[in-house]
């Protein structure tokens, strides 16, 4: 009889801080007290309180202890699990949020207002246990589809749900699936894009680490809907823990007949393979990803034909983001009406954001589509750090737009953001206070693109470099006459003429920054940086040195 569950934070950071030793010590101490059959110890993946890592949560009470050291474990076990008292001295300090929004009640340990679809199980179940996944409605959507629905019905459900791609572009998922299903072909493929390289975005990592089966189930459902029997997960080479969890999950699912041949005796077969990348931002672009999956340089292909017509091995291929696929099981299980009640009319559902920069609480949240930036910062971010004034936010990683204070109260969904000349992107929210310099930020962003450009087309390869040099001059107070105009003109040219999304996305941050903060750029051109961030007239970091740096990175 299990009477308590002890969860140890098992994210990479906790592991580097000794979480494994803590788990081993817990097990040893429990055995010492003869409690090993009554108390279950496991890791949890996604962790809400990054400020107290490594931590331990004891359920059913939900008591949070942290940050813990191995030496604390004997006392914790003796007090809480043996004697049944709270080990007061080891309790985690109260959440920073409590001072700000004390009136908002917590529900099931989840912040009020967060509606969790994708992250519903993350942090609650043991990601290495398929049993726990199944206990939380896991594989129920797949079972329902295979037993009750035809592939066409599954496809129609996803179409009706209005689910949009969560990788950044927001393309309707059902429509993409329909394109693939319509192709006359013997073989079709499902590819999960887990090459999450957009700086500041780590939602997919936490979904994969915290709830890997949800992605597998979503892929199997996609396979059933479009008539594919094989799927690939292209995961970043850097995400070793997520890859391990996926490999483990695939083995478990195959052993239980949830994946592989003849799933749940339905006659439908679906196999999933993993392919880890080796570090290249451009591989997040779907055609470059397919090239890399085939063992080549990650260079984008010409489109059309789109992957839906000619993808992996020239066959019709669905390429979906991790978060998109993780939404699918819940949609099939709970139905269209339930899903469309979340979010907005044009962008139903939830969105997972990573919150970063000058806010009191950084980390991951899942909220309905259409929430405003102000709500995100004030409710989930715990307000601006050190009471700084809000200057701007950048959405969607390096390829996203700069959001000025005027857009703080604009609902964040794909359609509304686009109307306002901004993009929602992949879900990173980098919040900057008044002490940050916009030119410095723009320079860092452009340096990223100059480094990551694959070199296939001239506008992106040369254009990003020219823009970076220009920003470098502005930032050093050495602007040449006409630099600002050159920057703007080059930005437009790169957007119009680049081969793929990388180049087309690179100048977006610059152009949106110029739109909202033009006077700051002009001040730099005249030789002043009002925030004092830029090394104006500082040491000459020569353009030649930057070229060396970039050619090294290539």
């Amino acid at each position: 009889m299990i009477r308590a569950h002890v969860m140890v934070s098992g994210d990479p950071l906790s592991l580097t801080r000794g979480a494994e030793a803590i788990k081993l010590a817990l097990e040893a101490e429990l055995a010492f007290h003869g409690l090993e059959d009554e108390v279950h110890v496991s890791y949890i993946g996604q962790t809400g309180r990054r400020d107290v890592l490594p931590f331990v949560i004891v359920y059913p009470e939900g008591t949070l202890y942290g940050p813990l050291r191995v030496e604390d474990v004997p006392f914790l076990v003796e007090e809480h699990l043996y004697k049944g008292r709270v080990a007061e001295t080891l309790l985690a300090p109260p959440d920073v949020l409590s001072g700000v929004i004390a009136r908002l009640p917590r529900r099931e340990g989840i912040l009020y207002g967060q509606q969790r679809v994708v992250l519903r199980r993350a942090g609650i179940i043991d990601p290495k246990s398929i049993e726990e996944y199944i206990a939380y409605d896991g594989y129920f959507g797949l079972a329902k589809a295979l037993a009750e629905l035809t592939p066409a019905q599954v496809l129609q459900t996803v179409k009706d749900s209005g689910l949009q791609g969560r990788g950044g572009a927001g393309f309707p998922t059902g429509m993409k699936w329909q394109f693939v299903a319509n192709q006359a072909a013997d073989t079709r493929y499902i590819v999960c894009n887990a090459d999450e390289s957009e700086p500041g975005t780590f939602k997919d990592r936490l979904i994969l680490e915290g709830d890997p089966h949800a992605v597998l189930e979503g892929m199997a459902l996609a396979g059933y809907a479009v008539g594919a029997h094989e799927g690939w997960i292209y995961i970043r080479g850097e995400y070793t823990l997520a890859k391990e969890r996926l490999e483990h999950a695939i083995k478990q699912a195959e052993a239980l007949g949830m994946l592989g041949d003849n799933i749940m005796e339905s006659g439908f077969s679906f196999h999933i393979h993993i392919h880890a990348g080796a570090g290249a931002y451009v591989c997040g672009e779907e055609t470059a990803l397919l090239e890399s999956l085939e063992g080549k340089r990650g260079i984008p292909r010409i489109r059309p034909p789109y992957p839906t017509v000619s993808g992996y091995h020239g066959m019709p291929t669905v390429v979906n983001n991790v978060e998109t696929l993780a939404n699918v099981p819940a949609i099939i299980r709970e139905g269209v009406t339930w899903y469309r009640a979340l979010g907005t009319e044009k962008s139903p559902g939830t969105k997972v954001y990573t919150m970063l920069g000058d806010v009191n609480i950084t980390g991951l949240i899942e909220v309905p589509m259409g929430i405003t930036l102000r709500e995100v910062i004030e409710i989930y971010g715990g307000g601006m750090k050190d009471g700084k004034a809000f200057k701007c936010a950048q959405t969607g990683g390096a390829a996203g737009s700069i959001i000025a204070p005027a857009l703080l109260d604009t609902p964040m969904d794909f359609a509304t953001m686009q109307q306002n000349g901004a993009a929602l992107g992949s879900g990173a929210l980098l919040v900057c206070g008044a002490d940050k310099c916009i030119v410095d930020l723009a320079y860092v962003l452009m340096r990223f693109f100059a480094t990551e450009s694959c070199g296939k087309c001239v506008p992106c390869r040369i254009g990003t470099l020219r823009m970076m040099e220009c920003l470098e001059r502005l930032r050093q107070g050495r602007a040449l006459p006409g630099d600002l105009e050159d920057l703007e003109r080059t930005a437009h040219q790169v957007i119009q003429t680049s081969f793929c999304g990388l180049g087309q996305g690179a100048p977006v941050s610059i152009l949106t920054a110029l739109r909202h903060f033009r006077e700051e750029f002009e001040a730099h051109a005249a030789g002043t940086c009002s925030t004092g961030v830029c090394p104006m007239a500082g040491p000459v970091e020569t353009v030649a040195a930057q070229h060396d740096y970039i050619s090294f990175m290539r």
């Binding site: 580097t16 000794g18 999450e196 080479g237 850097e238 930020l441 860092v444 090294f552 990175m553």
Partner: protein
């Protein structure tokens, strides 16, 4: 070199002699030997029956595959916007000052290589650096010196636990 050829055999068993697994094969070789030497590249091409030019073009494309020798310890730092606004520039300078080399270089004694890495997805604890693959978050100028000192003072390299 024979050691490297044995490793190649092991890695090929892992993925099969499948040209589609070329990226993964080269990445594993690079991680396990420090870098993929010219001899090893040629051997990979022969074993997978691929043109040498193709193998080299793939090896030189991906940032996790190195075709040049590296130092005994590799320090990598993320330079992207979230780490930058969290104070990345000071950490960057501290690394260059403490090791006496620029990014992309190896110390003359062959001990340290300093590299840039793309975003590691640990942005909420930026600035982030890795030493031999071990991750350290919330870095500052002072922590860099302390951390590198720890590696220098110990011949075995690795140490327990990351800096908070």
């Amino acid at each position: 070199m024979e050691e490297h050829m044995n490793l190649l055999t092991t890695v090929l068993e892992r993925y099969g002699a499948d040209p589609e697994a070329l990226v993964e094969i080269l990445r594993d070789l690079s991680q396990e030997t420090g870098y993929v030497s010219q001899e090893l590249l040629v051997a990979v091409a022969d074993r997978l029956q691929l043109p040498r030019s193709h193998v080299h073009s793939v090896a030189s494309f991906y940032s996790m595959i190195s075709v040049e020798p590296r130092g005994r310890h590799t320090v990598q730092m993320c330079q992207d916007a979230p780490c930058h606004v969290a104070g990345g520039r000071e950490v960057w300078q501290a690394l260059e000052e403490t090791l006496g080399i620029h990014f992309g270089e190896t110390t003359p004694d062959g001990e340290w290589t300093l590299q840039v890495t793309s975003c590691l997805g640990l942005c909420s604890v930026g600035p982030v650096i890795t030493i031999d693959g071990e991750v350290f978050g919330n870095m500052t100028h002072a922590k860099v010196q302390e951390l590198l000192g720890r590696y220098r003072g110990c011949c075995c390299g690795g140490s327990q636990g990351g800096a908070a």
